[in-house]
Symmetry: C2
Subunit: 569 residues, 2 copies
């Protein structure tokens, strides 16, 4: 491909509204363009990368025994009524009536479609398991689409659905998908962690998200370098280590004038924040007052709090604090006004000497001891796990990171098959609902994740396996015959080796070409300069390391081919 023909309009300036590196660089490098909020066109370079990611996904899915098909994007809303999802999904679901007034949705995922597809055709245990997938544009009408390809309204996803006769078979499919997803990340050069996404109601390892580590990620997670455990910080559950507060073991009221924050109290006592206790006044989902207490250096976790206090729980207003006899900044478990439920974090159960508010303005207690000085109504897991907390598996300190969810595997069980009557005849002659799993890879989001993880101040640094082209050949005097001849020789040689080459034959200054090629980020650059050509050499630049090297013209093809082939995955 010659750059003079290539449709890749690069921009000189950073686009104004692009916060993330991937968004900014893909725009600047002429690889994506916005059509409307959350809707992007992939220009030829980005589209080549997307197709490479798709092919890696396809390759791993096929190797894992899944079969590719293609279901329609338009889905009869009737199916979504059968599953009960139509109302649960809310406004993110794109819905419309066809010309005859029948309602359709644009599938954000295809559980209903695939269940309806197989429900009269997968009839016997002998046909199972089956795993079916497609790679398709999905639609989600985000309230506030942003971050380029990271959170769009139309995006490319691979979604797979497995059907099994037994839970063991589902587990096997699920494990195969987990391995496939790990392989996909590795082959795309995405550094990702498999993160426990929800060990909630069903229990066990029923959903894992693959999180590409990136500062710009929307999800925060904790992981253990020692044993490999990783979890969304909301889903992670561990026993936070707490230190005892100051004092000599007896309940002592201390004047703490104006010290209404953990920080001020810890400083006053000369103790770490972890030695203090943070009290939060809440109204639970039923409208009743609650005080929740957590270690001073941890936060109440919204997701966990919902489990304990119900969906819709909230902080008390100033009026409610007053009405309940509570004083902001000085709330605590001792002398709690009657009728207020006291719920404390599990990690505090063994702690016998708490520094906490005294339920009196400008006073705190030290040495407050549960069961001696106050009664706890309930112990519960309430806090967001942070870096330094012990790994729940091996006890080593956890690290924290931010991540981009690039894929997810999920054991669905019989939720859809029961609702939609998708049954099979089991070995024992009984009709049973199909046991399902679903497995998604965000293809366009993976592209964004690659760029988030592979860029520098000059632009994108494509890993070979997903680069739009593997090598840029850059003749600095494309119109001079000698330069053009050598260029053609090298390009022909690389093409013959099966290397994907783009030639920067544009009539531009060297400085412009260097900057533009760095921005577009092809893994290797072969620069044909006047001086080098006189000596029979070209310059080979490794975009990732920035290292340059003079290579004899006759040797450069073999050298580049070797480097590229070694880096393909």
């Amino acid at each position: 491909m010659y750059m003079s023909k290539l449709y890749a309009p690069t921009l000189k300036e950073d686009p104004a509204d692009a916060e993330l590196a991937s968004h900014r660089l893909l725009l600047r490098a002429g690889m994506i363009r916005k059509e409307a909020a959350g809707l992007y066109s992939y220009l030829p370079l980005a589209w080549r990368s997307i197709r490479k990611i798709e092919n890696i996904v396809r390759d791993e899915m096929d190797a894992a025994g899944a079969q590719e098909l293609m279901m329609p994007i338009m889905v009869d809303a009737e199916l979504w009524r059968e599953s009960g999802r139509i109302d649960a999904y809310g406004k993110e679901l794109v819905r419309f009536d066809d010309r005859h007034g029948r309602e359709f949705v644009l599938g954000p995922t295809h559980e209903e479609t695939v269940t309806a597809l197989v429900r009269n055709e997968l009839r016997s245990y002998k046909q199972l398991p089956v795993n079916l997938y497609h790679i398709q544009d999905k639609f989600r009408d985000e309230f506030r689409p942003r971050f380029g390809l990271m959170r769009g309204r139309e995006f490319i996803m691979k979604d797979a659905y497995s059907f099994s006769a037994t839970q063991e078979s589902l587990q096997e499919e699920y494990d195969k998908m987990k391995q496939a997803y790990a392989n996909i990340c590795e082959r795309c050069y995405i550094k990702a962690l498999p993160v426990v996404a929800d060990s909630g109601e069903i229990g066990g390892d029923t959903s894992v998200e693959y999180m590409a580590l990136a500062d710009a990620g929307e999800a925060s997670l904790v992981y253990c370098d020692e044993c490999g455990f990783a979890a969304d910080d909301e889903a992670a559950s561990t026993k936070v280590v707490v230190t005892e507060g100051p004092g000599d073991g007896t309940l002592t009221k201390v004047e703490t004038p104006g010290m209404g924050t953990i920080e001020a109290v810890a400083k006053f006592f000369g103790f770490p924040e972890n030695g203090t206790r943070k009290s939060l006044a809440l109204i639970d989902a039923e409208g009743k007052p609650v005080v929740a207490i957590v270690p001073g250096d941890h936060e109440l976790n919204d997701c966990k709090a919902e489990h304990v206090f119900g969906k819709g729980y909230r902080m008390m207003t100033d009026e409610e604090l007053q009405a309940n006899g509570l004083h902001k900044g000085f709330i605590g478990p001792v002398n709690l006004p009657e009728g207020i439920r006291l719920v404390c974090d599990e990690s505090l159960r063994e702690s016998k000497q708490w520094a906490c508010g005294a339920n009196e303005v400008d006073y705190h207690f030290t040495g407050a001891c549960p069961e001696c000085d106050f009664t706890v109504d309930e112990w519960a897991d309430l806090v967001t796990v942070v870096a330094g907390d012990p790994c729940p598996h091996c006890g080593k300190p956890l690290s924290a990171a931010r991540g981009i969810e690039v894929s997810q595997v999920f054991q669905l069980g019989t939720k859809y098959s029961e609702a939609m009557g998708a049954t099979f005849m089991d070995e024992d002659g009984k009709e049973k609902p199909l046991i399902m799993g679903c497995y998604g890879v965000g293809v366009s989001r993976s592209l964004a994740a690659v760029v988030e993880q592979h860029n520098d101040e000059h632009g994108i640094v494509w890993p070979v396996s997903v680069a739009p082209y593997e090598v840029a050949v850059i003749p600095l005097d494309p119109k001079k015959e000698e330069c053009a001849t050598v260029c053609e020789q090298i390009v022909d040689g690389l093409c013959a080796e099966g290397i994907e080459v783009v030639v920067d034959d544009r009539d531009e200054r060297p400085g412009f070409k260097f900057a533009d090629n760095d921005l577009m980020g092809f893994p290797y650059q072969v620069v044909l300069g006047k001086r080098g050509l006189k000596n029979g050499t070209v310059e080979l630049k490794d975009r990732a390391t920035g290292e340059r090297e003079d290579v004899a013209i006759d040797e450069v093809v073999a050298k580049v081919a070797e480097l590229v082939k070694a880096a393909r995955r």
Copy 2:
């Protein structure tokens, strides 16, 4: 791929509502399934064929210098207002509001999107020409979707858009696309004719449709075996040959009791229908009465009539006939009541002896002569060309056929670029609108066309280049060790040769397997039977010809590989 795992649920019976071979066979062979009216899932086998067609299309597009990208399916309706198409498109356009009340459409084609994409970035004649394409699901809310993949509401299309600085450059892009489309049809084994679709207002060769010849096609066309001319029968324009009617050159009134049809009149006079004149009483778009006269053996062409009588012209009702003093079956140009416009087909201009209605019940004239016996208000091209009419290019008789429109090329000119302000700076320093062409290939419809052209009473007969798998290996005793060993040896050998193999390892009777494999239509079958294996042979069957041949086990891999490779395109 092992058939015991393959998701391809074949049906024993023909599905009830499938009229076309492609619809019926793709359903029966477990290749497509209906999700809702006009919405189909492609099961794994059909999806493999679709991907092959896509890759052939991609290959030819890239070779012709076009660049692949991907635009969103959702299109801001504002763009369709800019182009003015939103109201013109009517109810086939899927429209909906997003959660913020902004209107979007699901693109049936992407002229607006692509014009908006390039309008600020293709700024100089130096950047031109550019040809951009994508392969994507398109949406058209057909009033009555039917015929399986032939006329769906969601279908796969390749649409390309070229941008040029000059008309010559547009013509070059257009010619390249025509060649690419001819190549695509050939490589997909689709026998198709490039058919002039509209030589209307702009004139010249501005749009060509590629019609796959098939009895089930929705379009009728005429073509010349001699010179290669072909046209939609509605668009074709030629000088129909007419014979003179009976009589001696003088106007003679003849009693023709009850003979109100061309057939009856021709029979009565013992003359060919072509020697009679057919008179039609119409109300034109302005509500005025007209009589149109065409050769007795030709039909008034609706499309051409619209050009002459205006959109909305229609046949007179019985009441209108009476009110205008006309008698059904006996209308003619002589003694036409006053106030009725007389328009006659061009082919009749030189004819001096017409047999036609006498405007009197039960009477016809013979020997009626224009200008002597009546006055023609207008001569116009009115008739649908049929087989036997002379080719407009070489004069040889035309043949007629039915066809499926699989692709179309079109010179758009500046329609969209002017409406949407997509201009470039030309060599002369002037701002000019981009000159556009658009080029579509119906990918899913091509699949249907392949099946329409390649099937027999046993099922589909896939051509190698688009077959889901190239070879089916059919062990008749897959559980017997000897059979299994030979099977594995052959399959391994074929795979090593890069041949795509499916193995029918199902535990079914031979008769079932033979019928099922014929239905699914893989180009070659290698059958491992008990008797053959004893003699060291397998049976090789060519699905297309039905020919069978015993081949030595050691030779079958080489033989099949040679056949398959020769048939790939």
